[in-house]
């Protein structure tokens, strides 16, 4: 399987490199060159859109920054290629960081508007800063020279092709690494990312910076390719085209980016040539029809699912024969395609084909990895027994409601501490306060001698507090193995450079992380399901996966929020064993649970909350007999 992929890739690259030898028409060479340049940008855009799940409307602006960095350097200083390209990447990456700064606090539509505003500002600045950019006049430049040799159209094509392949390899490596998993985790569940020590803020900025770097490279190549740059090229239309390319080609897929780039470069040319457009739209309709028929025959898709794309492509073909000229309606056609893609082709062309032909997403290669000997669960650092987590006078107020009212909690090292109480008594709020999701209104919390109040969730997670969530917060589109690997993010010291060139350090860390992740999955009994997407696991298994992921943080303290909810009786037995084994490793556990048999059988101490106040505390048997507790659960006598 892998060898076949490699052969295909080599054949593809060879065909690409030989293209100018076979086709001498410079028009086609230039067209393919443009596709490759756009593809480089789309690789980067896919990191933001596909992996972190944010909409960026600023990439045309970043593309422009790259182009103008190269253009200005050439115009003012006659800088050679080996300076302009890296400079464009660095400058644009800097702008990416600038763009990400306001983006730190916001996401979704706000972020989309921020990026749109950013793109608009860039365009205005390019237009107005005539002393630097020549304004609306634009900048003319020549094809660069390399090693003292002036490159012609064909040489430059090869240069772009080589850079495309390099970009492809680097992006692929980044996305397969712990960095890529961090990006994807942001999309899956920001809260869980933070609680796994993967700071949402930091990785959102990284994603934008890396993405901008690629946009900068593409922009500078574009400047040389066109030999003329002007402000109006980098407008809203282009940014929308880029987005269309990413979602239409297929998110989270390099092939998708290549397909998308091809479409957005060729589509405007096609629309200029109505004859050609008619042929292509008919061919497209036929292709969709065939795919649909194959898909239905293989039982992968229902007639109903396939009906809409088929009808849509047929309608497009019909429209092409109806309209006299398409050029003026170009944007409308883009808009319609976009609507179509957003609702009916969510996985893009690559996803659609993959679905119809029943191909699996390529899986990370992890064969030949023997399980590491010994235990995957790390033993918590031994320390003097005694107070370990000390919360006193914690008050958490939402408006007028006191979700926690003056609660003291002291947890002994190496124990299992139960936290029970009726619904709405403040148990989960306590968890959220302990993990930094809420900042308490008043009170102090000290963990291993350090205050937790005011620290970020990811910081707290890295200092040794891991948690699971009452409403499961897994990274749905990632496999069980990858989910645990996100928890192991803290074991990586490798940086972007290590990942890009696959240094021994990165390879070592990566292998160790995979082994440990498999070991942790085995610990909770999910090793069979390692390559299943988390969202496809049954509910009970999802809860176990959350425990495995939390253990990957090598926690001193593990907070379990209703781990037994939704589990069957035999599963609960298994869970009790797992929790006991966790304690044997010296990990302290705080357990929120409604199954009293679980609580009573494994907890050393139990605290009871009711209406945000602690009403009882002690060994399980004592608490069970406490009047106040019984009253809280069953209601008191009418006074």
């Amino acid at each position: 399987m892998k060898r076949r992929h490699l052969l295909l890739a080599i054949a593809g690259v060879a065909a690409l490199l030989l293209f100018p030898a076979g086709v001498s028409n410079p028009y086609y060479i230039h067209l393919l060159e443009t596709i490759m340049i756009y593809a480089i940008l789309l690789f980067g855009l896919d990191i933001v859109v596909g992996y972190t799940g944010q909409v960026s409307l600023g990439h045309a602006g970043l593309f422009g920054v790259g182009a103008y960095t190269a253009g200005v350097l050439v115009m003012k200083f006659a800088a050679p290629l080996w300076i302009t390209l890296p400079a464009a990447v660095l400058v644009t990456a800097g702008f990416g960081a600038l763009l990400a700064l306001p983006a730190l606090r916001v996401s979704g539509p706000y972020l989309a508007m921020v990026t749109l505003a950013f793109g608009t500002i860039i365009q205005i600045l390019i237009n107005e800063m005539t002393f630097l950019t020549e304004g609306p006049l634009g900048i003319k430049l020549q094809k660069p020279s390399l090693f003292g040799q002036q490159l012609d159209e064909r040489d430059y094509f090869w240069l772009v092709a080589v850079l495309l392949v390099l970009a492809l390899i680097v992006v692929h490596r980044i996305l397969r690494s712990h960095l890529g998993r961090a990006f994807e985790a942001l999309r899956g569940s920001p809260v869980a990312s933070d609680c796994m020590g993967v700071s949402v803020y930091r990785y959102k900025v990284y994603a934008f910076v890396i993405s901008a770097g690629f946009a900068g490279l593409a922009g500078s190549l574009y400047a040389y390719s066109e030999q003329y740059i002007s402000p109006n090229s980098y407008n809203f239309e282009l940014t929308v085209l880029f987005l269309l390319a990413v979602i239409m080609g297929g998110r989270k897929s390099r092939i998708g980016s290549l397909v998308g780039a091809t479409i957005i470069v060729l589509l405007p040319k096609l629309l200029d040539d109505i004859e050609m457009f008619r042929y292509v739209s008919v061919a497209l309709a036929a292709l969709v029809l065939v795919t649909a028929v194959v898909g239905i025959q293989k039982g992968r898709a229902s007639l109903k699912q396939m009906a809409i794309p088929v009808v849509g492509s047929l309608a497009l073909a019909g429209l092409s024969f109806w309209l006299k000229t398409m050029t003026d309606w170009r944007l409308s056609i883009f808009g319609v395609i976009m609507l179509f893609v957003v609702y009916y082709l969510q996985d893009g062309i690559v996803g659609f084909v993959r679905n119809a032909l029943n191909l699996q997403r390529p899986k990370a290669q992890v064969q030949d990895l023997a399980l590491a000997g010994g235990d995957a669960v790390s033993t918590a650092a031994a320390g003097a027994s005694g107070e370990f987590l000390e919360a006193s006078g914690v008050l958490m107020q939402f408006g007028g409601l006191k979700a926690l009212n003056d609660v003291d909690l002291s947890i002994q090292r190496g124990t299992i501490h139960g936290l029970i109480g009726p619904n709405g008594s403040g148990k989960s709020t306590m968890m959220n306060v302990l993990t930094g999701i809420y900042v308490p209104t008043a009170g102090t919390i000290a963990f291993a001698g350090r205050s937790l109040v005011g620290r970020t969730s990811s910081d707290i997670a890295l200092s040794g507090i891991a948690r699971t969530f009452q409403n499961v917060q897994l990274f749905g589109e990632m496999t069980a193995l990858q989910n645990v690997q996100v928890g192991l993010h803290h074991t990586f010291a490798s940086n972007l450079f290590d990942v890009a060139v696959q240094t021994p350090r990165y390879l070592r860390e990566s292998k160790a992380a995979t082994q440990r992740a498999l070991g942790l999955l085995q610990f909770v009994g999910l090793d069979e399901l390692a390559f299943e997407e988390a969202r496809n696991l049954p509910y009970g298994k999802q809860r176990l996966l959350e425990i495995a992921r939390a253990l990957a943080l090598d926690p001193q303290l593990l907070l379990l929020d209703e781990p037994a909810a939704g589990l069957t009786a035999p599963d609960i037995k298994e869970l009790i064993n797992i929790i006991r084994k966790i304690r044997e490793h010296g990990v302290t556990v705080i357990l929120i649970e409604h199954h009293m048999d679980v609580v009573m059988s494994i907890c050393d101490t139990v605290s009871v909350l009711d209406f945000g106040q602690k009403i009882a505390e002690g060994v399980p048997a004592k608490v069970q007999a406490d009047e106040k507790v019984i009253e809280a659960y069953l209601g008191g006598q009418a006074a």
């Binding site: 809203f236 976009m338 609702y343």
Partner: protein, 291 residues
């Protein structure tokens, strides 16, 4: 000093237009947590349809309700095609992209129907300025301010005093609970989009006589109005008026003292700063996300 007063007056008129468009953002955000990225294009369509109606000999004052009707219809279309399917599949990405797509389509259609050049919109009021505090004020500018305020008051009155308005407010507070109480929340959301585009179209015919009318007039106005909506906070009515006026004045003064090329910059920079520092806006309440 006289120039400054003059700039402030024009800034206020411009700012009220931003406030009205921003108000439209608030309306849809209130009912469905979604925004129409094509809000600026709704304004542009309103202005162009108004221009055509005036060209056909319809009186300016009679034209306004017709344009409002058109705006309401256009908003409902956006909601049905672009937003409802996305809400159904709970895809934020979906509605962002589809309202952008619809915006592009509207703009392109407008280009093909009305042409690419900017058109002059005949002013319904005398174009000779009035003198006020030593500065010249166009009667049209006064109309803009009065019209904008009336529009917002009317919608607020509707929301607060009528049973239909209560449905809107209930949907805002809790969509699922409102649904269970028998409110057709889908219809309420459609209605809010209709109302939102209606206000945008209305803003379009108000501002058209002061500026030029054309297919490209909407995009930047929509973006800057979003800045106003953010500055004011997406839930504060007072906030957008203050925000709009601040931005309007910032813009006219930048345009005069710096360069007209830079006049869009303060609004956009302000948007970036406010989002970076206080995403809930200057007047909005910070909501705590429940986990």
């Amino acid at each position: 000093m006289q120039i400054l007063t003059q700039l402030i007056f024009s800034g206020i008129a411009l700012g009220m237009i931003y406030a009205v468009i921003a108000f439209g953002y608030q309306l849809t955000f209130a009912t469905s947590d979604t925004l129409n990225f094509g809000q600026g294009d709704a304004l542009m369509l309103g202005a162009l349809v108004g221009l055509t109606l005036v060209g056909l000999g319809v009186n300016y004052w009679l034209m306004i309700p017709l344009v409002c009707l058109f705006g309401a219809f256009q908003g409902a279309v956006v909601e049905r095609i672009g937003v409802r399917p996305a809400i159904k599949i709970k895809s934020e990405f979906g509605w962002i992209m589809s309202t952008i797509a619809l915006g592009i389509i509207f703009k392109n259609v407008a280009e093909n129907v009305w042409g690419r050049d900017d058109l002059k919109f005949p002013s319904p009021l005398p174009e000779s300025p009035l003198h006020f505090l030593g500065a010249n004020v166009l009667p049209m500018e006064i109309l803009v301010v009065v019209g904008a305020v009336l529009m917002m008051l009317a919608v607020e009155f509707f929301n607060r005093k009528t049973i239909y308005g209560k449905a809107v407010v209930a949907t805002f507070n809790d969509r699922d609970a409102a649904k269970l109480m028998g409110i057709n929340t889908g219809l309420v959301i459609t209605f809010s989009y209709a109302l939102s585009s209606l206000t945008a179209a209305f803003a379009g015919v108000l501002i058209a006589p002061l500026t030029l009318t054309g297919a490209t007039m909407g995009a930047v106005l929509g973006l800057k109005a979003f800045a106003v909506a953010i500055i004011g906070g997406l839930t504060s009515g007072m906030g957008i008026i203050v925000g709009g006026v601040i931005l309007g004045i910032a813009e006219t003064t930048t345009g005069f003292y710096l360069s007209t090329g830079y006049k869009d910059v303060p609004g956009l920079v302000l948007l970036l700063i406010v989002l970076a520092v206080r995403p809930a806006g200057l007047f909005g309440k910070t909501a705590i996300k429940k986990v």
